[in-house]
Amino acid sequence: MALIMNVMYAKAIGITQGIIGREVNSDMWLSTVLGILQGVAVAYIVAKLMQYAPEFSMVEMAGKLIGTWAGKGIAVLIFLFFLGTFATVMVTFVYHLMDYFLPEAPTILFVVAALMVGLYGAYHGLEVMSRMAFVGVFSMLTLNILVLFGSVREMDVRNILPVMDSGLVPTLWASRHFDTDWAFAVMLIALLLPHVKRSARLARVSAVSVGLAGISIVMWPIMESTVLSAEATSQYIVACMQLARSAHIGLFLHRYEMIMIAFFATSSLIQVMMCLFCASLSASKLLGLKDYRPMLLPTGAILGAFAYWIVADHMRAMEFTAHQWPLISLPIVLGLPLVIGILYLFFKDKLKANQTPS
C-alpha cells in the first residue's frame, strides 16, 4: 500500500502538473482529481481481476491461459512499460536535483547514482522495499506539511477560480498525463499481487491507497496554482520545485527546498527501485528464470542507458514525458488487464484444469 502511494507521488507533483498546467491552466487540480478517480477505479478493477487467480501474476496468468509464448510477449510488453516508466522517473529525479541544485554536475552521474541505490534496494527484495516505502510515505507527509507551512501565506484562491474554465473535455483529456502516474501503480498491482500475502482485501486496499496518494498529490496542483498561478506553473519543467523555491518560513528561512528535496528523493528513489525490480522480474519471466536477481544488472544497464538517453536532452525528455509516453503507457495499462480479463472469461476452465494438478 505504501508502495503504491510512493510510486505515484514523485512525478505527479511536479512534472505532470507542469504539463497539465500547460494544457488547461487553472483547472489542473480538477484534471488531477479526475485522474485520481480514474486511477481508483482502474486499480480496483485490476486488483479484483487479479484475485481470481491470486497465485499468478499477470504474466503467469497469460502464460497459463494462452500459452507460454503469449506470456512471454506480455512479459516483453511489461518490460517495455517499465523501461518507459523508468525514463520518466529518472526525468523527475534528475531534473529536480540537477537543475535546482547541481547544475554543473554531469547528468550521467545522477543516473548512475540513482541506479546504484535502486539496484541495491531492488536486490534486497520486496520486503525491504515495502519497508522503505513506509519511510517514503512518512517523508511524503512531511514534505506536504512543510510546503504547506511555507506557502499558506501566499495562497490566493482567486487563482484557481473559475472552476472548469477550460471546459470538461479538455480537462478530462489532460488528466491522461496524470493517468501515466497511476499506471505505474496499477502495473505494480498486477505484477506483484502474488507476492503479497493478504490477497483477500487487496482490491479495496489498492483502490484506497491510490485514492490516498491522490489526496496527497492533489494538494500540490492546488497549491501550485494558488501560490504561483497556473500561468507561472506551466512555465516550468519542474513545477513543484518552483513552489518549493517560493516557500519560506518566517523571515529568516528564505529557502528550505533542500530539506524538501531530501524527502522528495526518498519517494523518487523508491520509484527507481520498484521500476528496476519490476523490470527485472518481467525480464526473468521472459527468460524463464526462477529468481529475478541475476537479471538485475543487465536490466539496470538497459534501463539506465535508455533513461540517460532521454534525460540528457531536456527537450527530448519533455517531449517524451508530455506527448509520447501517455499514448504508449495508457494502452498498455488499460489494455493488458482488459485482454487478460477477456481471456480469463474464455479460458477459465483451462486455468482451473491447470490449477488442480499443481
Partner: protein
C-alpha cells in the same frame, strides 16, 4: 586419535595409575597443588587431592581434609562394607554441599582447572569432584557505561554467578530459566542463556542455542567474541546484539521476551533480539516520569540525527548549496571562512580526525594524563586553530556539537557505528553535494532495513510499522498505559486493566490498590 583417547580415558582403581596419568597431563604447574593423605586406620588407604591454588577457598579444602582425615580415620569396621563406592562416601561421609562423582579423567581435569577439588582414593575407579570455587573478584560497583541518574547502581562483575544472581534477585519467577553451556576449546568459558519461559518467542532459545553450539574457537575472553560469532549481519556496521552492564536492563529485556547471554569473566551481558531504536533508550527513561523520559528520548533522537548528519549537511551547504543558507548566516559563515586555506571538506575531515584523536587519546591515557590531553586538545582546536586561520570558527562549532551529540547516545557501540557512518556520508556530500548525500544516506537506510536480528527486523517497530508497539519508541508512554509487552514476545499481558492511578472513592488517601 590420541586426543580422542585422552578425552575418553577413565579412572582406574589403582591410585598409582591415576596419579601418574594426571601428572602426565597436568605436568608441573606452580599453582597446582597435590595433597596426599591416608584414611581409615584399618586398611591404611591412600588418597590424593588435586586442586588449583587461587581458585579455591582454603576453608573448604580444610573442611574436606578434616572430614577425610578425622572422620575417615575413625570409621569403624570393614571399609569395604560400609563405603564401597564414592556414591556412598558422598552420602555418608562428606559434609560439602556440592559434590559429584566423575569417571572420566577429562572431566576431573576440567574440574581441577575450574576451581574444583578432585579427590581420588585407592581402589576406586572414580573421582570425587567437590566444588570449592572461590576466587578474588571485583565487588559489585556502579557500571562505567550506561550510567543513570535515577535507578539502581549495581552493575555486573566478571563473575558469571554473581551476574546471574543479580538478575535472579530481580525476577523471582519460576519461569526464569538459565541454561549453561561451555564455549571455547581452550578457555572453556562458562556461558549462560537466560530467558523467561512462556514469554520468549517459540524457537528463539533453540536458535540461540544452535548458534552458540556452532562456535568452534579456541578462546572466548569477552562477550564481544560471542557477539561477533552469532550475529545476523556480520558485515554490517550496525550491531545487531546489544550489550549492557546493567542487571535491571537485562531483567527488563527478559520480561519483554528477549534472551540474555551471560559470559563468564566479563561484565557485559548480551541481549537479543535487538532493535536499532533500543540503542537510544536509557534505563532512566523508564524510571523517571514519562514526560521527562519522553523528552530525553526525543533529545537523544535529535542527538542521533546531529551526530550522523550535521557535518555532512554543513559541508554540503557551504560548498554546494549556498543558496539554502539564510542570507545573514551565509555572510557570517563566509566571513569566518575568508582566510581558511582549505576546502570545507578537507577542513571537516581534518577537524573530525582531530576530534577522534583527542577522544581516543583521552580514553587510552592514564586518567590524570587523559584530562591533560583533552584540555590541550580543546585549546588547540578551539582557539589556536581558528586564530591561526586554519579552520573557521563555524567548523569548530559543528564538530564540537557533533561530538557532544555522539556522546549523548547511551549505547557505546551504537555511537561508534554512527560515528563510522558519518565519514562516508561526509565524503559523499563533500564530493557530490545533495546527490552524494542522498545516495549514501539511502544506501544506509536500505541496508538498515534489510538486516535482521534473530528473526526480528532491525528497524522494527518503525519499519515494518507495528502500531501496537509505538508506545515505547519515540515517546515513552506512562506505565499504566502499556498493557502488553512488545509484540515479539509471547506473553500477552503486562498488567491489568484500569491501572491508571486515581484517588479511591473521594478519599484523600493513597492510590488504589489491587
Amino acid at each position: 586419535m590420541t586426543e580422542q583417547k585422552k578425552k575418553d580415558a577413565v579412572f582406574t582403581s589403582q591410585l598409582q595409575d591415576n596419579t601418574e596419568t594426571l601428572d602426565g597431563i597436568l605436568e608441573f604447574s606452580t599453582d597446582l597443588l597435590r595433597r596426599e593423605f591416608v584414611i581409615h586406620a584399618d586398611s591404611n588407604r591412600h588418597g590424593i587431592c588435586y586442586l588449583t591454588d587461587g581458585l579455591v577457598s582454603n576453608t573448604d579444602i580444610q573442611l574436606i581434609l578434616k572430614t577425610l582425615l578425622l572422620y575417615g580415620q575413625a570409621i569403624n569396621g570393614n571399609w569395604q562394607q560400609s563405603l564401597d563406592s564414592f556414591e556412598q562416601i558422598k552420602q555418608q561421609l562428606m559434609v560439602n554441599c556440592s559434590i559429584r562423582t566423575v569417571t572420566k579423567l577429562d572431566d576431573g581435569i576440567n574440574g581441577i582447572l575450574s576451581g574444583e577439588t578432585l579427590v581420588l582414593l585407592d581402589g576406586y575407579a572414580e573421582g570425587l569432584l567437590i566444588t570449592t570455587k572461590a576466587w578474588e573478584s571485583r565487588s559489585i560497583t556502579e557500571p562505567a557505561t550506561d550510567t543513570v541518574v535515577r535507578g539502581p547502581r549495581d552493575g555486573f562483575t566478571e563473575n558469571i554467578r554473581t551476574n546471574t544472581s543479580l538478575v535472579r534477585k530481580r525476577i523471582k519467577d519460576p519461569q526464569f530459566r538459565l541454561e549453561a553451556m561451555v564455549v571455547g576449546n581452550k578457555t572453556r568459558t562458562d556461558i549462560n542463556i537466560a530467558y523467561m519461559k512462556g514469554t520468549v518467542k517459540d524457537g528463539l532459545v533453540e536458535e540461540v542455542r544452535q548458534r552458540l553450539q556452532k562456535i568452534d574457537i579456541d578462546g572466548v575472553l569477552e562477550s564481544g567474541y560471542i557477539e561477533e560469532l552469532i550475529e545476523d549481519a556480520p558485515l554490517s556496521v550496525f550491531s545487531t546484539i546489544a550489550s549492557t552492564e546493567r542487571p535491571d536492563k537485562v531483567a527488563s529485556a527478559l520480561l519483554e521476551g528477549r534472551v540474555a547471554i551471560f559470559v563468564d569473566n566479563t561484565p557485559f551481558v548480551l541481549l537479543l533480539p535487538t532493535f536499532f531504536w533500543q540503542f537510544f533508550q536509557a534505563s532512566d527513561d523508564y524510571y523517571s516520569r514519562y514526560w521527562v523520559g519522553s523528552f530525553f528520548r526525543i533529545v537523544r533522537y535529535i542527538a542521533f540525527l546531529i551526530s550522523l548528519m550535521l557535518p555532512s549537511l554543513y559541508v554540503m551547504l557551504v560548498s554546494f548549496h549556498q543558496e539554502m543558507i539564510p542570507s545573514m548566516l551565509a555572510f557570517t559563515i563566509a566571513s569566518g571562512r575568508e582566510v581558511v586555506p582549505f576546502p570545507v571538506l578537507v577542513e571537516a575531515i581534518m577537524m573530525e580526525l582531530a576530534f577522534e584523536l583527542m577522544r581516543e587519546a583521552g580514553l587510552r591515557m592514564p586518567k590524570p594524563v587523559g584530562q591533560a590531553v583533552s584540555i590541550v586538545g580543546s585549546l588547540i582546536i578551539g582557539q589556536a586553530a581558528v586564530q591561526a586561520g586554519l579552520v573557521s570558527p563555524f567548523m569548530v562549532i559543528v564538530v564540537a556539537v557533533t561530538g557532544i551529540a555522539s556522546f549523548a547516545i547511551p549505547n557505546y557501540s551504537a555511537s561508534i557505528a554512527i560515528r563510522l557512518l558519518r565519514f562516508p556520508l561526509l565524503i559523499a556530500s563533500g564530493m557530490l553535494g545533495l546527490l552524494g548525500f542522498a545516495a549514501v544516506f539511502f544506501m544506509v537506510v536500505i541496508h538498515a532495513l534489510s538486516i535482521r536480528s534473530f528473526g526480528e527486523s532491525y528497524l522494527a517497530p518503525a519499519a515494518p510499522f507495528r502500531p501496537s508497539d509505538q508506545k515505547d519508541i519515540v515517546l515513552r508512554f506512562p506505565w499504566w498505559s502499556i498493557k502488553r509487552p512488545p509484540s515479539f514476545s509471547k506473553e500477552q499481558r503486562r498488567q491489568g486493566k484500569n491501572t491508571m492511578p486515581k484517588p479511591s472513592g473521594g478519599q484523600s488517601g493513597g492510590p488504589e490498590r489491587g
